[in-house]
């Protein structure tokens, strides 16, 4: 635990205003300032790691809105994550965690094979039958929540179907290494296909290496720093062999993690160089607004932008996606209140803390509803999953889409599906 960060907190309370869990609880224990104080008291031996204390800390979404707000540069979300990381390192991973984090995530083939039954389950109509019978209610609530989150999956993951090299259209501008997020590839393949299409249309040669592995964010969530480092080294070696100008991802969570490889690998020069090349798709596209402006066709649609925590708070990207949306002729962008407030997805938070996740989601849905937008646009798969199921229940006339899906729809003049 970083003592200096803990004592740097001056307890001004600025973070309370933007913390989603403080807004719901009004409790100091549900606030970033309170979490830093708890960690400090643990470090100083004043408090023990009691069940209650761990429960308070586990309520943190790690959305890092507090880090954006903090005048002193303290990142309470990260400190809590590190604390759990150190606990895991000391106690070891559980059996199921080990299976997923060490034996599935680092091996995309296995991960994809493991999700095949899910695809089948949906395809043969079992899902409808099971849902209608309320069969899932027999299982722990977590299974039902997981099922509720799942949209219909593409027939095959994008990693298996995308060409390893997508040639540029028109004059070649440069080469991009495309980082495929696990969830993007497995669930939102069409959005990532759209990202690659946009890059190619702008003159980039897009290399999507099939040997790339998970960014390591799930390991970080589970406190498995060792697993994360293994995956980081693998990705360094895969992308290190390519001559690319940028490493681009359309997954906010992956982008945030890839940009921290330098930090995770003790500032290894190759890792720093890798991280320096990483761009969220919106950052690279926004460098070419002039060209895009001439290419985009009208889309008469009203949208609102949801700032994913991993994009706005972790990467500081807010301007670029809005600029891109405004390029689409006929599109109206309406800002929602607290656009950068978490939607409650938070990695596996939705499954770990269902009650709080629902309350945070409800507040987000209220902000969305007030705008009257037809489409909520965002750039992170966790938010896509969370908002999709939230909207289906609460605002069925509103859809959620990835930024690049909407841009690609405008590029081809096809209204979004």
């Amino acid at each position: 635990m970083d003592e200096l960060s803990l004592i740097t907190c001056m307890r001004c309370g600025t973070c309370l205003a933007t913390c989603p869990t403080y807004r719901e609880t009004y409790l100091e224990s549900g606030s970033p300032r309170g979490r830093v104080a708890l960690l400090r008291k643990v470090l100083e031996g004043e408090l023990e790691q009691s069940e209650r204390l761990l429960g308070f800390l586990a309520l943190c979404l790690d959305c890092q809105a507090c880090a954006t707000a903090c005048p002193s540069g303290v990142n309470a979300g990260s400190l809590v994550a590190e604390f759990f990381g150190e606990r895991t390192a000391a106690q070891g991973l559980g059996g199921m965690e080990r299976l997923i984090l060490r034996h599935l995530l680092p091996h995309p083939d296995r991960l994809e094979a493991a999700t095949t039954p899910l695809r089948l389950y949906q395809r043969v109509g079992l899902q409808r039958l099971v849902r209608r019978m309320g069969f899932l209610k027999l299982f722990p609530p977590i299974i039902e929540r997981m099922d509720g989150l799942l949209p219909s999956l593409p027939s095959r993951p994008l990693r298996q179907t995308i060409d390893e090299v997508t040639p540029p259209q028109g004059t070649e501008r440069g080469t991009v290494g495309f980082f495929l997020g696990c969830v993007m590839s497995l669930v939102f393949a069409e959005a990532s296909r759209a990202s690659i299409q946009l890059l190619s249309a702008l003159g980039y040669r897009v290399i999507t290496p099939r040997e790339q592995v998970c960014c390591g964010a799930p390991n970080m969530l589970a406190g498995d720093l060792e697993g994360l480092r293994g995956e980081a080294r693998r990705n360094l070696s895969v992308f290190g062999q390519l001559q690319v100008d940028y490493i681009v991802t359309d997954c906010g969570g992956c982008g945030a993690e890839l940009k921290r490889y330098g930090h995770h690998l003790d500032h290894l020069p190759e890792a720093e160089a890798f991280s320096a090349k990483v761009r969220d798709i919106s950052q690279l596209l926004a460098q070419h607004t002039d060209e895009l402006g001439t290419m985009l066709q009208p889309l008469p649609v009203t949208v609102t932008w949801h700032d994913a925590c991993h994009i706005a708070h972790c990467q500081g990207i807010r301007r670029e996606p809005r600029e891109l949306l405004r390029l689409i002729p006929g599109l109206e962008l309406r800002e929602m209140a607290d656009a950068d407030a978490c939607c409650g997805s938070g990695g596996d938070y939705n499954l770990r803390q269902p009650e709080m996740a629902d309350r945070v989601l409800a507040r987000k849905l209220e902000s969305i509803a007030t705008t009257g937008a037809d489409v909520v646009v965002t750039g992170n798969p966790g938010c896509l999953l969370q908002l999709r199921q939230g909207l289906a229940k609460g605002l069925p006339q509103t859809r959620v889409q990835h930024l690049t899906e909407l841009l690609a729809a405008s590029l081809t003049g096809q209204p979004p599906g």
């Binding site: 004592i7 309170g34 408090l47």
Partner: protein, 456 residues
């Protein structure tokens, strides 16, 4: 405290809103004040006035102390309790009424200051007090501390807007003072006495504040100066020219260098002071006043003068001021922010006194603040692990407060006395001042159960 007593309180406020576990209580041991900690016995988050009345009656009968708390952002230790009951008002956060005919708002104590701003501004109205913590501070806390903010020079502070209060006293009796009538001379004017009472006289359950029409437009300007004297003379000259800016903020050289190191906003390092000036009101008046401010700044050899043409540019010009505290807070782990205040004509000698005290005690103090109303924020950058330096910082601040008093100013312009400034108060108000304050306290709370140990 007896567990059965806590159970009785729990019965009144509800188990979900009663905290008595070790971990939670540890988190109510602090507010935003550096170095102070105390542990309450129980924390209550009531949802209704009647719950507060019953809790106060019960505590009064049992001789148990009660300390009110909003969001815990005060800088005087005023919301800390040693062994007593803390009442956090956050759940009582309804705006009860916006009266557009009388231009008043009536709110519960837990309403967040910036929420009230947003709601009244949507209707073309304006509630000016804007303390630095306004995005999380509560109106109840603002009234108890008489919070100031950036707009104090032209628009005054919280006290200038509180028209009426509903207050629960220490024994549970309900006191209603003031109201929506602009004129009211029936007996002692009690409302202003309750404003800035720091939770020692009563707990507010409803607050009626005055609203004014929202200024139609504003102009934002930034000026650099190579000497502190020129900047201070500029401030005096602007006021002497009968221009009252809504905002007249300044940064000193230590702060400027920290801001530049942190935010890279392009501040030249030979700049000794930066002034951020905003005039607001009717467009014709704003244009005239902005021209006057520009002429005065240029006449005082401003090394750079900029006027914002768009709201985005205005935000950019305000960047240095907005990041001042962040920039200072990142230099060293511990940041001690004070609020010594002097008549505005004494800003230059006060800044000199701050610099001398910092030099004498070998500590780094950056100063920024509200130049227009003489409210300065000398901010000491230190490290709580270095006990020697902390001692020197306190020695420097003691001299700074003495200098403020000597210049006809005060030890605290907007943070309050609480625990942190208790020892300096007698020097400012004298024995008679303390005697009168004690008398007022005794009239409201003869047993002394309400927020004991604060102010004097």
């Amino acid at each position: 405290m007896e567990p059965t007593f806590i159970d009785t309180l729990r019965g009144i406020v509800g188990p979900d809103h009663t905290l008595s576990d070790r971990e939670s209580l540890a988190l109510y041991g602090y507010d935003s004040t550096p170095e102070l900690e105390a542990r309450p016995a129980v924390v209550l988050l009531p949802g209704h006035r009647d719950e507060i009345i019953r809790v106060m009656e019960l505590c009064h009968g049992a001789g148990v102390s009660v300390t009110p708390r909003g969001s815990g952002t005060n800088l005087s230790g005023g919301s800390l309790s040693a062994g007593g009951v803390v009442i956090q008002t956050s759940r009582m956060n309804r705006i009860l009424e916006l009266d557009e005919e009388n231009l008043t708002a009536t709110v519960e104590p837990g309403v967040i200051t910036s929420t009230l701003h947003r709601e009244v501004e949507r209707r073309g109205l304006f509630y000016p007090p804007d303390p630095g913590s306004m995005n999380i501070s509560t109106l109840g806390g603002n009234v108890a501390e008489n919070s100031g903010g950036l707009r104090g020079l032209k628009y005054g502070v919280t006290a200038d807007y509180v028209m009426g209060l509903e207050t629960v006293l220490a024994d549970g009796s309900l006191l209603t003072t003031g109201g929506k009538a602009v004129k009211d001379v029936a007996g002692y004017t009690t409302t202003p006495l309750l404003v800035s009472s720091e939770g020692t006289l009563g707990l507010f359950t409803a607050i009626t504040v005055k609203l004014i029409p929202k200024p139609r437009t504003k102009a934002t300007m930034l000026a650099h100066f190579t000497t502190m004297e020129e900047a201070a003379l500029t401030v005096s000259a602007i006021i002497a020219a009968k221009v009252i800016p809504a905002t007249l903020e300044f940064l000193d050289q230590v702060t400027i260098r920290c801001v530049e190191a942190y935010a890279h906003v392009g501040l030249p390092l030979d700049v000794a002071a930066v002034l951020l000036i905003e005039v607001d009101g009717h467009p014709a008046v704003v244009a005239e006043e902005a021209a006057a401010v520009e002429a005065i700044c240029r006449g005082h050899r401003a090394s750079l003068f900029q006027t914002a043409a768009t709201p985005e540019e205005a935000l950019n010009l305000a960047t240095a001021r907005r990041t001042a505290l962040s920039a200072l807070a990142r230099v060293k782990p511990t940041t001690i922010l004070e609020d010594a205040t002097v008549p505005r004509s004494c800003i230059a000698p006060m800044l000199q006194a701050i610099q001398d005290a910092a030099d004498r005690h070998r500590v780094t103090i950056g100063t920024f603040g509200h130049a227009g109303d003489g409210n300065l924020h000398p901010t000491c950058l230190t490290d709580e692990r270095d006990q020697d330096e902390i001692r020197r910082a306190h020695a420097a601040f003691t001299e700074i407060f003495e200098a403020a008093i000597a210049l006809g100013g005060t030890i605290t312009g907007e943070h309050g006395v609480g625990l942190a400034k208790k020892k300096y108060l007698p020097r400012l108000v004298g024995e008679t001042g303390i005697r009168i304050m004690r008398g007022i306290k005794a009239a409201f709370d003869p047993q002394g159960t309400l927020n004991p140990g604060k102010i004097f």
